[in-house]
Symmetry: C2
Subunit: 130 residues, 2 copies
Protein backbone atom coordinates (compact mmCIF):
# COMPACT_ATOMS: atom_id res chain seq x y z
CA UNK A 1 0.00 0.00 0.00
CA UNK A 2 1.32 3.44 -0.87
CA UNK A 3 0.49 6.81 0.67
CA UNK A 4 -1.19 8.04 -2.53
CA UNK A 5 -1.95 6.73 -6.01
CA UNK A 6 1.53 6.46 -7.50
CA UNK A 7 0.57 5.88 -11.11
CA UNK A 8 -0.43 9.42 -12.13
CA UNK A 9 2.64 10.90 -10.41
CA UNK A 10 4.97 8.29 -11.87
CA UNK A 11 3.60 8.74 -15.36
CA UNK A 12 4.01 12.55 -15.26
CA UNK A 13 7.46 12.11 -13.68
CA UNK A 14 8.67 9.78 -16.44
CA UNK A 15 7.39 12.14 -19.14
CA UNK A 16 9.09 15.17 -17.55
CA UNK A 17 12.41 13.33 -17.32
CA UNK A 18 12.17 12.23 -20.97
CA UNK A 19 11.49 15.81 -22.12
CA UNK A 20 14.35 17.19 -20.00
CA UNK A 21 16.82 14.57 -21.20
CA UNK A 22 15.96 15.59 -24.76
CA UNK A 23 16.38 19.31 -23.89
CA UNK A 24 12.67 19.87 -24.60
CA UNK A 25 11.87 21.80 -21.39
CA UNK A 26 9.42 24.18 -23.09
CA UNK A 27 7.46 21.21 -24.47
CA UNK A 28 7.38 19.74 -20.94
CA UNK A 29 5.84 22.97 -19.66
CA UNK A 30 3.20 23.03 -22.39
CA UNK A 31 2.20 19.39 -21.95
CA UNK A 32 2.66 18.70 -18.24
CA UNK A 33 2.32 21.97 -16.30
CA UNK A 34 -0.89 23.29 -14.74
CA UNK A 35 -1.91 26.77 -15.97
CA UNK A 36 -1.66 27.88 -12.31
CA UNK A 37 1.82 26.33 -11.75
CA UNK A 38 3.69 27.75 -8.77
CA UNK A 39 7.50 27.92 -9.10
CA UNK A 40 9.76 28.38 -6.06
CA UNK A 41 13.46 29.10 -6.64
CA UNK A 42 15.86 29.41 -3.68
CA UNK A 43 16.23 33.17 -4.27
CA UNK A 44 15.30 36.17 -6.41
CA UNK A 45 17.36 36.33 -9.59
CA UNK A 46 17.98 39.06 -12.18
CA UNK A 47 14.71 40.87 -11.42
CA UNK A 48 12.67 37.67 -11.16
CA UNK A 49 11.15 36.85 -7.77
CA UNK A 50 11.93 33.50 -6.15
CA UNK A 51 8.22 32.64 -6.13
CA UNK A 52 6.27 32.95 -9.39
CA UNK A 53 2.80 31.78 -10.36
CA UNK A 54 1.20 30.97 -13.70
CA UNK A 55 2.42 29.17 -16.79
CA UNK A 56 3.26 32.39 -18.67
CA UNK A 57 5.69 33.52 -15.96
CA UNK A 58 7.33 30.09 -15.94
CA UNK A 59 7.67 30.10 -19.75
CA UNK A 60 9.32 33.54 -19.54
CA UNK A 61 11.75 32.29 -16.88
CA UNK A 62 12.74 29.38 -19.12
CA UNK A 63 13.07 31.62 -22.19
CA UNK A 64 15.27 33.97 -20.14
CA UNK A 65 17.47 30.94 -19.35
CA UNK A 66 17.86 29.97 -23.02
CA UNK A 67 18.62 33.61 -23.98
CA UNK A 68 21.35 33.89 -21.33
CA UNK A 69 22.99 30.46 -21.16
CA UNK A 70 24.32 27.80 -23.47
CA UNK A 71 24.13 24.29 -22.05
CA UNK A 72 27.34 22.40 -22.80
CA UNK A 73 26.39 19.27 -20.92
CA UNK A 74 23.38 18.20 -18.90
CA UNK A 75 22.58 15.15 -16.84
CA UNK A 76 19.09 14.24 -15.58
CA UNK A 77 18.88 11.74 -12.70
CA UNK A 78 15.48 10.37 -11.77
CA UNK A 79 12.60 10.44 -11.28
CA UNK A 80 12.31 9.61 -7.57
CA UNK A 81 8.69 9.26 -6.40
CA UNK A 82 6.69 9.52 -3.16
CA UNK A 83 2.91 9.82 -3.40
CA UNK A 84 1.89 12.98 -5.28
CA UNK A 85 5.46 14.33 -5.37
CA UNK A 86 8.56 13.43 -7.32
CA UNK A 87 12.18 14.60 -7.33
CA UNK A 88 14.81 14.94 -10.08
CA UNK A 89 18.52 15.76 -9.76
CA UNK A 90 19.96 17.98 -12.50
CA UNK A 91 23.61 18.60 -13.28
CA UNK A 92 24.54 21.24 -15.87
CA UNK A 93 27.63 22.76 -17.33
CA UNK A 94 26.68 26.11 -18.84
CA UNK A 95 28.31 29.06 -20.57
CA UNK A 96 26.99 32.57 -19.88
CA UNK A 97 26.41 34.01 -23.36
CA UNK A 98 27.49 37.55 -22.36
CA UNK A 99 30.50 36.89 -20.12
CA UNK A 100 31.52 33.50 -21.66
CA UNK A 101 31.95 32.29 -18.08
CA UNK A 102 31.56 28.53 -17.66
CA UNK A 103 29.71 27.23 -14.62
CA UNK A 104 29.02 23.80 -13.15
CA UNK A 105 25.58 23.70 -11.48
CA UNK A 106 23.83 20.94 -9.54
CA UNK A 107 20.27 21.18 -8.29
CA UNK A 108 17.39 19.02 -7.10
CA UNK A 109 13.82 19.83 -8.10
CA UNK A 110 10.73 18.57 -6.28
CA UNK A 111 7.47 18.56 -8.27
CA UNK A 112 3.92 18.25 -6.92
CA UNK A 113 1.29 16.66 -9.17
CA UNK A 114 -2.42 17.51 -8.88
CA UNK A 115 -5.13 16.25 -11.25
CA UNK A 116 -2.48 14.80 -13.58
CA UNK A 117 -0.56 18.10 -14.01
CA UNK A 118 2.50 19.59 -12.31
CA UNK A 119 1.07 22.17 -9.89
CA UNK A 120 4.33 23.16 -8.14
CA UNK A 121 8.06 23.04 -8.86
CA UNK A 122 10.57 23.79 -6.11
CA UNK A 123 14.31 24.03 -6.77
CA UNK A 124 17.04 23.27 -4.23
CA UNK A 125 20.55 24.64 -4.85
CA UNK A 126 23.60 22.63 -3.92
CA UNK A 127 25.41 24.13 -0.94
CA UNK A 128 29.08 24.48 -1.78
CA UNK A 129 31.97 23.78 0.58
CA UNK A 130 33.26 26.69 2.62
Amino acid sequence: MTTAAPTATESVARELVEFCKAGRNLDAISKLYSPSIESIEPMDFDGMPARMTGIDAIRKKNEWWYENFETNRHDVDGPYVNGEQFAVRYSFETTNKKTRERQQMNEIAVYTVKDGKIAQERFFNQVTDR
Copy 2:
Protein backbone atom coordinates in the same frame (compact mmCIF):
# COMPACT_ATOMS: atom_id res chain seq x y z
CA MET B 1 16.69 38.18 -0.78
CA THR B 2 15.71 34.59 -0.13
CA THR B 3 12.31 33.06 0.50
CA ALA B 4 13.15 32.22 4.14
CA ALA B 5 16.11 32.54 6.52
CA PRO B 6 18.58 30.11 4.92
CA THR B 7 21.13 30.04 7.72
CA ALA B 8 19.32 27.76 10.21
CA THR B 9 18.33 25.34 7.44
CA GLU B 10 21.80 25.33 5.91
CA SER B 11 23.46 24.73 9.26
CA VAL B 12 21.21 21.76 10.11
CA ALA B 13 21.60 20.46 6.54
CA ARG B 14 25.41 20.52 6.72
CA GLU B 15 25.38 18.75 10.10
CA LEU B 16 23.02 16.02 8.86
CA VAL B 17 25.19 15.38 5.80
CA GLU B 18 28.34 15.17 7.95
CA PHE B 19 26.68 12.65 10.32
CA CYS B 20 25.37 10.55 7.40
CA LYS B 21 28.73 10.55 5.59
CA ALA B 22 30.28 9.21 8.83
CA GLY B 23 27.54 6.53 9.13
CA ARG B 24 26.34 8.20 12.37
CA ASN B 25 22.62 8.33 11.48
CA LEU B 26 21.45 7.58 15.03
CA ASP B 27 23.54 10.50 16.34
CA ALA B 28 21.96 12.72 13.69
CA ILE B 29 18.50 11.75 14.94
CA SER B 30 19.42 12.47 18.57
CA LYS B 31 20.98 15.84 17.82
CA LEU B 32 18.99 17.23 14.90
CA TYR B 33 15.49 15.70 14.94
CA SER B 34 12.42 17.21 16.59
CA PRO B 35 10.75 14.95 19.20
CA SER B 36 7.62 15.15 17.03
CA ILE B 37 9.44 14.31 13.76
CA GLU B 38 7.16 13.07 10.97
CA SER B 39 8.65 10.50 8.58
CA ILE B 40 7.08 9.72 5.19
CA GLU B 41 8.38 6.74 3.21
CA PRO B 42 6.99 5.97 -0.27
CA MET B 43 5.21 2.84 1.05
CA ASP B 44 4.54 0.59 4.03
CA PHE B 45 7.41 -1.79 4.67
CA ASP B 46 7.76 -4.96 6.76
CA GLY B 47 4.93 -4.03 9.14
CA MET B 48 5.96 -0.37 9.39
CA PRO B 49 3.54 2.21 8.01
CA ALA B 50 4.77 4.66 5.37
CA ARG B 51 3.93 7.57 7.68
CA MET B 52 5.32 7.52 11.23
CA THR B 53 5.46 10.21 13.91
CA GLY B 54 7.70 10.72 16.91
CA ILE B 55 11.43 10.30 17.44
CA ASP B 56 11.06 6.84 19.11
CA ALA B 57 9.34 5.38 16.03
CA ILE B 58 12.04 6.86 13.78
CA ARG B 59 14.82 5.45 15.98
CA LYS B 60 13.15 2.01 15.79
CA LYS B 61 12.96 2.27 11.99
CA ASN B 62 16.68 3.05 11.82
CA GLU B 63 17.55 0.25 14.25
CA TRP B 64 15.46 -2.13 12.13
CA TRP B 65 17.58 -1.06 9.15
CA TYR B 66 20.87 -1.78 10.91
CA GLU B 67 19.56 -5.16 12.15
CA ASN B 68 18.53 -6.21 8.63
CA PHE B 69 21.12 -4.70 6.30
CA GLU B 70 24.86 -4.34 6.00
CA THR B 71 25.96 -1.25 4.12
CA ASN B 72 28.81 -2.12 1.76
CA ARG B 73 29.11 1.33 0.22
CA HIS B 74 27.25 4.58 0.69
CA ASP B 75 27.41 7.93 -1.03
CA VAL B 76 25.83 11.13 0.31
CA ASP B 77 25.30 13.97 -2.18
CA GLY B 78 24.25 17.35 -0.83
CA PRO B 79 22.85 19.24 0.88
CA TYR B 80 20.64 21.18 -1.56
CA VAL B 81 18.73 24.04 0.11
CA ASN B 82 15.58 26.12 -0.49
CA GLY B 83 14.20 28.15 2.42
CA GLU B 84 13.18 25.90 5.32
CA GLN B 85 13.71 22.72 3.31
CA PHE B 86 16.75 20.83 2.10
CA ALA B 87 17.35 17.74 -0.04
CA VAL B 88 20.01 15.01 0.00
CA ARG B 89 20.62 12.23 -2.54
CA TYR B 90 21.68 8.88 -1.10
CA SER B 91 23.16 5.94 -2.94
CA PHE B 92 23.68 2.64 -1.10
CA GLU B 93 24.88 -0.82 -1.83
CA THR B 94 23.52 -3.11 0.85
CA THR B 95 23.49 -6.80 1.76
CA ASN B 96 20.37 -8.30 3.35
CA LYS B 97 21.69 -10.07 6.44
CA LYS B 98 19.18 -12.96 6.16
CA THR B 99 19.12 -13.64 2.43
CA ARG B 100 22.66 -12.32 1.64
CA GLU B 101 21.08 -10.59 -1.35
CA ARG B 102 22.96 -7.50 -2.53
CA GLN B 103 20.99 -4.48 -3.62
CA GLN B 104 21.81 -1.10 -5.17
CA MET B 105 19.46 1.61 -3.86
CA ASN B 106 19.19 5.28 -4.75
CA GLU B 107 16.88 7.71 -2.99
CA ILE B 108 16.34 11.42 -2.43
CA ALA B 109 15.24 12.72 0.97
CA VAL B 110 13.62 16.11 1.55
CA TYR B 111 13.85 17.50 5.10
CA THR B 112 11.81 20.34 6.62
CA VAL B 113 13.42 22.41 9.39
CA LYS B 114 11.34 24.16 12.08
CA ASP B 115 12.79 26.00 15.08
CA GLY B 116 16.27 24.67 14.27
CA LYS B 117 15.24 21.00 14.25
CA ILE B 118 14.24 18.56 11.49
CA ALA B 119 10.44 18.33 11.75
CA GLN B 120 9.79 16.18 8.67
CA GLU B 121 11.72 13.74 6.49
CA ARG B 122 10.24 12.51 3.22
CA PHE B 123 11.91 9.82 1.10
CA PHE B 124 11.59 9.49 -2.67
CA ASN B 125 12.45 6.14 -4.30
CA GLN B 126 14.14 6.00 -7.66
CA VAL B 127 11.80 4.75 -10.37
CA THR B 128 13.50 1.97 -12.31
CA ASP B 129 13.33 1.44 -16.06
CA ARG B 130 10.58 -0.81 -17.35
